[in-house]
Symmetry: C2
Subunit: 347 residues, 2 copies
């Protein structure tokens, strides 16, 4: 079942996961393609971004954004093309960055769309290096992490969509970058392509000892996107005045209960006090939308100059999205995970 | 045994406490009064400040400052007078803010002393409202808390040396200030003298519910100086973009082991992420020494204008310091705790 002009395929939230999501939490269904009213657009999804934050939307818990309702299509960023325009600013065939979700078609009133110029860069890059993950890496590292040349930066999930950008921007700013990734192949990529100074496999039994050895001068910036045992190993190594931008905690997203004790909450506060840490959470478009142009300018230039490498893992077919997303939460992806939902040109 | 010109009484660290300190952890001893060399001063302690951070110095653990060695006098800020000067910049009788510790006499080379002008303010105030605790309140609240008019500020230990200043500066900046203190009498003082909008007794069984009721618009700033159950009650009430200056964790200082589980460390990180909190530790003179003059200017003016009230609890006699300090860690003091070690004028 591929994308057609006859039906709108949707992947909806069938049930809320307990722990790791399974295929049974999603339903693939066909509905009618909606009709744009005057002032509206019909958008056709070409690429769908899969990102860890989507796990949070599957819960019925208050967070920084509303949960997906049962029976509704899963949310998500997309690169789409205008199929029908009843809006003066858009022509059929225009490429846009949208938030159409896990489906073939979506209506838009033109608000919150960003027009893309795909002749310059691959259009799907707007979901990664030139989009939300790249922007997240850029602002979290530069505005909160405040890297100085010679400082030690630790970044986990270092070959992922955000981590790979953090690692490379850290190198551009003159940091010693210690990457953490899952497995030898990813570490080789981090060392050889991203250019980090060291890469550690978080699956190693002696991970904490290896991290300490790789950070002889302590840690000045820990870009937090995983939590769990990487955070545990980082905390004792943090230097006075270290900064922790908190972007994500992927190791915790499938947790169904708090871990066993002892309770280290006050110990973390004591570490923040004694080491005079700055720990700061952020949600990229809520907190930094006003700096998006600055990011696009810098990142586009770095890409043109070959200073940033970008790796995308393309998965073909909307129906593959649930399995790919389940794997993302287990660290099975290698690079930015994108689903090709439809062809660039629709026959 | 009172202060004389014959001996130097010292309270030394006899043993390291396990849990709450006891009198047995201190030894009161008499030694010879040291002789100042050329370029040195002999300082006589008039007032000794007792502060919660001293508990940390009694441990043999790495912290932001070195521990007190067994057998050495306990450290601490003092208001002292120059007894003998062999230094060109000081005259006998000069008042200075020093760090002479728990003893009658100490040598100084004149470095890191601040000259006081006691005709303007009570000299002991240099240990409180015009010294380290006042400065800690001022910078932590203004530089990290960044209070805006109409925001809700929660401060615990609200009649203590730091908390009372945080509460009043918060009111000067237009915040709704919700104080937390131990017992009815302290709460009455916070309401009637410090002018807070609400005061809650942390000993109440339904403290968390009362705090929620007192903060109908959530919490924008939590000035952290206690940790423990106050922090637990605050966390669910924090608003998006709330700030937590971390100044102290007095409820934890006597802990001998981590509390039982579950482990909420990653949950705290998730709260920081989802609510986009800023949590930042600071050590006042290490981080803000360059802004001391600004603080003294502002605070002196507020005092002259009657905008800041200051309550001092004076304890007479160096030999009372251990018991007073033990009580401080239990919240038994009411106002800034100062030991009068000697008379203003020595007979």
């Amino acid at each position: 079942m591929t994308q057609t002009t006859m039906h709108n395929r949707q992947l909806t939230l069938a049930s809320r996961p307990v722990g790791a999501p399974t295929a049974a939490n999603f339903t693939l269904q066909q509905t009618a393609i909606p009709e744009p009213a005057q002032g509206q657009l019909l958008l056709r999804t070409v690429y769908l971004s899969l990102d860890p934050y989507m796990r949070g939307r599957m819960n019925d818990a208050k967070s920084y954004a509303a949960p997906v309702a049962l029976g509704d299509p899963m949310v998500g960023g997309t690169v789409s093309r205008v199929q029908i325009s009843r809006h003066p600013d858009y022509q059929p065939g225009d490429w846009v960055l949208s938030y159409s979700g896990w489906q073939d078609y979506a209506l838009s009133d033109g608000e919150r769309l960003i027009k893309l110029e795909p002749e310059q860069m691959s259009p799907s890059w707007a979901l990664g290096v030139l989009g939300m993950p790249g922007f997240t890496a850029y602002m979290g590292l530069l505005d909160i992490g405040k890297p100085q040349a010679g400082e030690t930066l630790v970044v986990a999930a270092a070959t992922g969509a955000v981590g790979a950008m953090v690692a490379q921007i850290g190198k551009l700013k003159g940091c010693r970058v210690v990457a953490v990734a899952g497995g030898e192949e990813k570490c080789r990529y981090a060392l050889n392509t991203l250019g980090v100074d060291a890469c550690l496999d978080h699956k190693a039994d002696d991970f904490a000892e290896r991290l300490a050895s790789a950070c002889p001068d302590g840690i000045d910036i820990y870009y937090e996107n995983v939590g769990g045992k990487v955070l545990d190993a980082v905390l004792p190594l943090l230097n006075t005045h270290a900064r922790i931008p908190v972007c994500g905690l992927i190791s915790q997203y499938n947790a169904t209960a708090l871990p066993e004790g002892p309770d280290r909450l006050n110990q973390l506060m004591a570490t923040i006090l004694i080491k005079r840490l700055t720990v700061k959470g952020f949600i990229i478009f809520d907190d930094y939308a006003h700096r998006y142009d600055e990011f696009v300018t810098d990142m586009s230039q770095w890409l043109r100059e070959g200073k940033i490498h970008y790796r995308e893992q393309l998965v073909d077919g909307l129906e593959q999205a649930p399995q790919a997303f389940i794997g993302l939460l287990q660290g099975e992806n290698f690079g930015k995970l994108v689903v090709r939902v439809g062809d660039d040109e629709l026959a």
